[in-house]
Amino acid sequence: MSMMPPATQSTHGCIDFLSYSASLDGWLAGGWIDLSWDDRDEPPAYILEFGETKVEGEAVVCVFPRPDVRKIGVGVLLFMPGVSQRADAFQDAILIRDGRRFRLTASEPLDRPTEFEAIARTKSLISSAMRSSRRAHLLRLLNRPTFAGHDTLDTLQPPVFLELDAACLCPPAGLLLRGWFIDPFRSVASIRIRCGAESRLLDTDHWIRIPRADVRQGFSKQFGGLIDECGFLAFVGDVYSPGETVYFEVQGRLGDVAFKRVAQVRSAGVDTIKETLSNLELRYDELARGYDHVLGPAVAAMNDFRLMEAVDYKEMTFGDSPAHPRCSIIVPLYGRIDFMELQLAFFSRTLGRHHEIIYVLDDPTILRATEALATSCIARFRLPFRLVTLASNVGYAPANNVGLKLARGDYVCFLNSDVFPKTPGWLDSMVAVADARPEVGVVGAMLVFEDETVQHEGVAFEVLPEFAGWNFSLHPRKGRYPSEDESVQEVEAVTGACLMMPMALAREVGGFDEGYVIGDFEDVDLCLKARERGRICVVDRSARLYHLERQSQGGQQSSWRLNLTLYNAWRFQKRWPPAALEQLAQGESEGRAKKAELAGAAE
């Protein structure tokens, strides 16, 4: 049967077969072990060595008579709960009992049966083992039902209902599951999600409850005491492998097991992000839990996947933009291209020819109309500009970053398409502010609504208890009449609707963080990255522009849009926890004090 181990290695036995059982979440192995092994109920520790990688835990060990090794050892069957590894890299199994190590080396060749063959073989061999609680335990495990490709959930008694509306891949291997679940008799002990060799327990931490009145009403005649929140949104990481079937394994409190297949796994994209964030209303503390464990990692994975490939773009020039502009204005366009027409008209009266304008069309569906309008605009307004058109809709931060890559100015001014200049020379004024003070990293403008009230005169952070106590960027004095004051004021951050900074700094910090989806928080994040490098943010109150806020994103906020803002807020908290913000502010005030002291000393 088994080959003797190589004489050079000190061994206490041999592993003849080894197989990972996904349904048991552990390794099954058989072989022999030295006669000195003390066979008792207390489980020994085990280490499985796969080259550099080790899997450790506590093993279930049963010995059985084996005539072929009777002078030196006994037959041994092992169940070692743990994660899957590549079985062909297996070297040794080590059992540790009372401080003594028993090394069982892989026989050559090692038999690597399928999961089901391994279960059958272990069952057959264990029949000759002595009766013990270990034997009983292992037999129970081996006799568990396994998924045979069809749903068996309806066989459970008392009944349990589990339906899936959607399963979305969160690349590379996560899954976001949306559906509903009813357990009227509280008879379910656990639910696992399985795929190939991987399995994950669905715990309540990774599970958001969603009201599904429709489901509850449908079952309320049959069962009493159901709650509305029987819908769920669950995230499981590292479970999916392409080509393998995904299924739920529902285990009852009595040890009974049933399966439910996941029919289809959808790929990740903007649509799946929208869908994920629709019909959810998380507030207060459920917000942090929901985003930490479910929505946060799921949306981050989908967004990373979406942005994995570099965006394809082409550039057209209209008129002769300056070769060495003072400032490059970057305006992403989405939906309303008439804003480009209006902006260029107004820029033609308020902007010197020493700046360049770069429009980034982030909406390929209106490419032809935009090109035609651009041709008309240069004819009418005679203001040169560059038009960069993206091959796909990528969102605010990536679109701006493409513009940043192509910009040639000493400064860059990120501008929204619904911002329109009010005063001539607005940009020259902002550039002059930065020119005069090297410590200035970001210059914002005074933005007003069409009724001349404040839209933005600097951003301040405020903790909102309703939203998990997270920091949100607010616009103080918004909607009020602005003061006549035209000075330059230091602020915590400025809005990305009109945000100017030195080109070198913008590139050094990598532009906008593309992890924020569609457009929220990346502007204040950019400001904080500048402050982290010792620069300050100011608002030039003499540079006045109109900001017709949120016009470019449609009117009423839909639930997915609000939840996306919350996602971005969550991401922002992870990057800039309150302590980090405080530290920044403290560092700056100490810096100011020191400067003042130095200035005092110099006098």
């Binding site: 008209a345 309008l373 008309s376 240069i378 004819a379 009418r380 329109f420 009117g555």
Partner: protein, 480 residues
């Protein structure tokens, strides 16, 4: 308000003009193709300038039926100083932007070539307001004059300043009110629209308004008072040798058989116990008996000339006619010269029903040829302008005055400004048939009153006089 350098002094200042300024006259539709008020004014201006020996050019837009020359944006099918622009893009009627990428270059080059002292445009539609910047680029020395013909820049509702849903009169634009009239646009769209228009209007040196009323509306909207002048449009061209001639009121052409349409005799009723739509009408002392019989009073013919549309108040007029019959006024005939075939079908039905039910005092003649207007006006005793919108300076007022006829009009806007109540006409309350009926009944029963109003009519300024006023404004704007 008109404290500006553009207040006219009335006296033609120079019969001995050393040289006339050269003028490029522009109109949104070439007068050879359509005959709206603005086109006629533009063409008359062009013609009169040339008649005075001045250098003038005409530029109008093509109609959809115009012959297109492939690749030619500007053509000259009507002569060497006469240009036709063929727009090559869908015009943006919301902010009056012309997306045609060819036009800015074409107009810029044309102005650079002609070097006119004045570019006088009679509209901005179809050309687009951006043309003012292009003209400025093409020949910076030129002065740009824009005639305002209605409230289009202020009001997106065809420039009528009437609410879209209720058709009530609108006093002033606001972003909120405009957005309420046009739910498909937000307040901010109207903000941007206004800003866009005003930015390009900045390049205009002088706005000419044919009424103080319209000028005031534009001043309220934001045009600087210093750039606004009030000056009547060039009077319309007349047929043949009678052009601009003052026709004395005494000379009446021989009566002509009129095409009668709607006659449905109704039993006449007495004026006793009349309540007219809730409005008590009181007739002048002693007139009641006369009204009841209608025997001793001379017959009065009132004329309505123009489009039979809701805005022109045709239903107000028909209703008033019915009320006159109800009052027992039988010596009044209302003669309608106009057409309703271009009205919406629903309104056509309304007009047809009203004509069907009209009493003997309404005579519907149908459409008329403008060359006949003086002849037709001679047959009436007074003109009625029952418009339910503000109007600006309706050309029929000048035509009525040319023919020595007083005008009865709604008491609002440009028309009320042109008619002095009790001098050369009468006002009645806009959109109130009872008020119009009251005024007409009063005239019918007091023959002396109409005679005094007729005597109060003064001839409108001639084309030469209006041209002289134009030249005076041109001089001033060149001098600024």
């Amino acid at each position: 308000m008109m404290d500006a350098p553009y207040e006219l002094h009335g006296e033609p200042v120079r019969a001995m003009r050393p040289s006339l300024p050269s003028v490029l006259v522009m109109t949104h539709s070439h007068p050879k193709l359509t005959r709206g008020g603005a086109e006629i004014s533009a063409f008359t201006l062009f013609r009169e300038l040339r008649a005075r020996g001045g250098k003038a050019w005409l530029l109008g837009c093509s109609s959809p039926k115009s012959e297109v020359r492939l690749g030619a944006t500007l053509t000259q099918p009507y002569g060497p100083d006469d240009y036709v622009y063929h727009p090559n893009a869908a015009f943006d009627y919301f902010k009056f932007a012309n997306p045609d990428p060819q036009f800015p270059k074409v107009i810029e080059e044309l102005v650079a070539e002609l070097k006119p002292d004045i570019v006088h445009s009679h509209h901005f539609v179809r050309f687009g307001v951006e043309m003012f910047a292009a003209i400025r680029r093409g020949w910076p020395k030129t002065r740009i004059v824009l005639s305002l013909h209605e409230y289009l820049a202020i009001c997106n509702h065809h420039g009528q300043m009437m609410k879209t849903k209720t058709f009530r009169l609108c006093e002033k634009d606001s972003y909120a009110a405009c957005a309420a009239c046009f739910p498909q646009h937000g307040e901010r769209d109207f903000f941007l629209r206004k800003r866009y228009l005003q930015m390009f209007f900045d390049d205009v040196d002088l706005f000419i308004s044919p009424s103080h009323f319209l000028a005031e509306r534009f001043r309220n909207w934001g045009l600087p008072a210093s750039k606004l002048a009030v000056l009547e449009n060039m009077p319309p061209e007349r047929d043949g040798s009678t052009a601009d001639a003052w026709v004395p009121p005494a000379v009446l052409p021989p009566p002509v058989e009129v095409a009668k349409l709607a006659f449905k005799p109704k039993p006449s009723r007495t004026a006793s116990a009349k309540r007219l739509g809730g409005d008590e009408v009181s007739l002048a002392d002693g007139a009641e008996d006369a009204a009841a019989t209608g025997a001793a009073l001379p017959s009065l013919n009132f004329g309505f000339f123009g489009q039979m549309s809701p805005l022109k108040g045709i239903t107000v007029l028909m209703d008033a006619a019915r009320r006159l019959t109800d009052l027992g006024i039988r010596n009044v005939v209302i003669e309608i010269y106009g057409d309703y075939s271009s009205q919406p079908l629903e309104f056509q039905k309304v007009v047809e029903e009203a004509l069907e039910e009209a009493g003997e005092n309404v005579v519907f003649h149908g459409a008329y040829d403008n060359s006949q207007v003086n002849t037709l006006m001679q047959r009436i005793d007074a003109m009625i302008i029952p418009s339910t919108w503000w109007e600006n300076s309706p050309v029929v007022i000048q035509e009525a005055f040319t023919n020595g006829k007083p005008v009865i009009c709604s008491n609002i806007g440009g028309m009320a400004e042109k008619i002095t109540h009790g001098v050369n006409g009468l006002h009645f309350e806009v959109s109130r048939p009872a008020s119009l009926a009251e005024v007409l009944a009063d005239l019918a029963t007091n023959p002396g009153k109409l005679a005094s109003l007729t005597a109060g009519v003064r001839p409108p300024p001639t084309a030469q006089e209006v041209l002289e006023q134009h030249l005076e404004l041109y001089d001033r704007v060149i001098a600024v």
